[in-house]
């Protein structure tokens, strides 16, 4: 059974902060922590699919939302998942005001760097979770 930590980013298409969330999630799952994480598309959780419910219930999740509606965190919780950490791109941006994101299909340099910073934060959370599991 796959027990990798699920990284669930915002699915808001056409939203800059949603794009940063997805870009950050890809960096974590493909580059920084591919052995211990995997990405979960939010759209998979919306239909009432029992297989997906089991899948999300068996793993802990880190959600990355692009706005305060926090769809990712809410949907994971409502689908029976465990939200170990709920991140907001806006909160990360507030700590790095020089990395102003812009663009949607193609993020600007600030957006790409913000996604990288976000990914590092997520990776640190993953390490912390893994450490607790190992202890």
């Amino acid at each position: 059974m796959n027990r990798k930590i699920c990284i669930v980013p915002c699915s808001g298409i056409g939203k800059t902060y949603g794009s940063v969330a997805r870009e950050g999630a890809f960096i974590v799952t493909e580059d920084l922590r591919p052995e211990t994480t995997r990405i979960m598309a939010l759209s998979r959780l919306v239909p009432d699919d029992s297989d997906v419910r089991v899948e999300i219930a068996l793993a802990e999740s880190i959600t990355i939302d692009g706005c305060k509606l926090a769809c990712a965190a809410k949907v994971v919780a409502e689908t029976g998942g465990t939200v170990a950490h709920a991140l907001q791109v806006l909160d990360v941006y507030r700590k790095h005001r020089d990395l102003k994101p812009a663009g949607i299909a193609e993020l600007n340099e600030g957006g790409k760097r913000l996604a990288a910073v976000l990914a590092e934060e997520v990776a640190a959370l993953v390490d912390n979770m893994e450490g607790k599991h190992d202890a």
Binding site: K15, T16, K68, L90, Y93
Partner: protein
């Protein structure tokens, strides 16, 4: 005077409900004011904050600044835009909401309460107050603005 949500006028557009307290006056730029003795408290209306989007940063004009109507009382950076907020009244900034420095999202969460922006003192409040919109007029203005955005021609 505390804000009583039961006295708000409401405007429903699509899935959104916007609130307009009847005890406040509003500027066309979307700021509200409330008389508090010889001071006026200034903030951003529910409609204006929703339209602006999630606020990342709020920069407030410091206490002691002399404001004319239209001078910038604050500026906000949201996930969508940067907006300069023009003062709806003349006067001197007596106090600003320092909580907005670390938690600017208070404007989104509680626009008529903890998300207030500034307290302004003025010797002549009546004239500018009379030029502002009451809640009913502001609802009508917001409806026109929303319809214009939804149905651009």
């Amino acid at each position: 005077m505390a804000h009583n949500p039961n006295e708000d006028l409401e405007l429903r557009i699509d899935k959104f409900t916007f609130r307009f307290p009847t005890g406040l006056r509003f500027s066309e730029a979307g700021l509200w004011i409330r008389r508090e003795g010889g001071l006026v408290r200034v903030g951003l209306s529910d409609f204006a904050q929703r339209r602006a989007g999630d606020i990342a940063f709020a920069n407030l004009t410091p206490a002691g600044t002399v404001l004319g109507i239209g001078d910038e009382v604050a500026s906000i950076e949201t996930v969508k835009v940067n907006i300069s907020l023009p003062s709806p009244v003349n006067g001197i900034v007596r106090e600003v909401n320092s909580a907005l420095q670390d938690t600017p999202e208070l404007i989104n969460q509680d626009p008529y309460g903890n998300g207030w922006i500034a307290l302004v003192g003025s010797e002549d409040l009546e004239a500018p107050l009379n030029g502002l919109l009451d809640a009913e007029m502001c609802v009508a203005l917001a409806r026109r603005q929303a319809e214009a955005e939804l149905n651009p021609s």
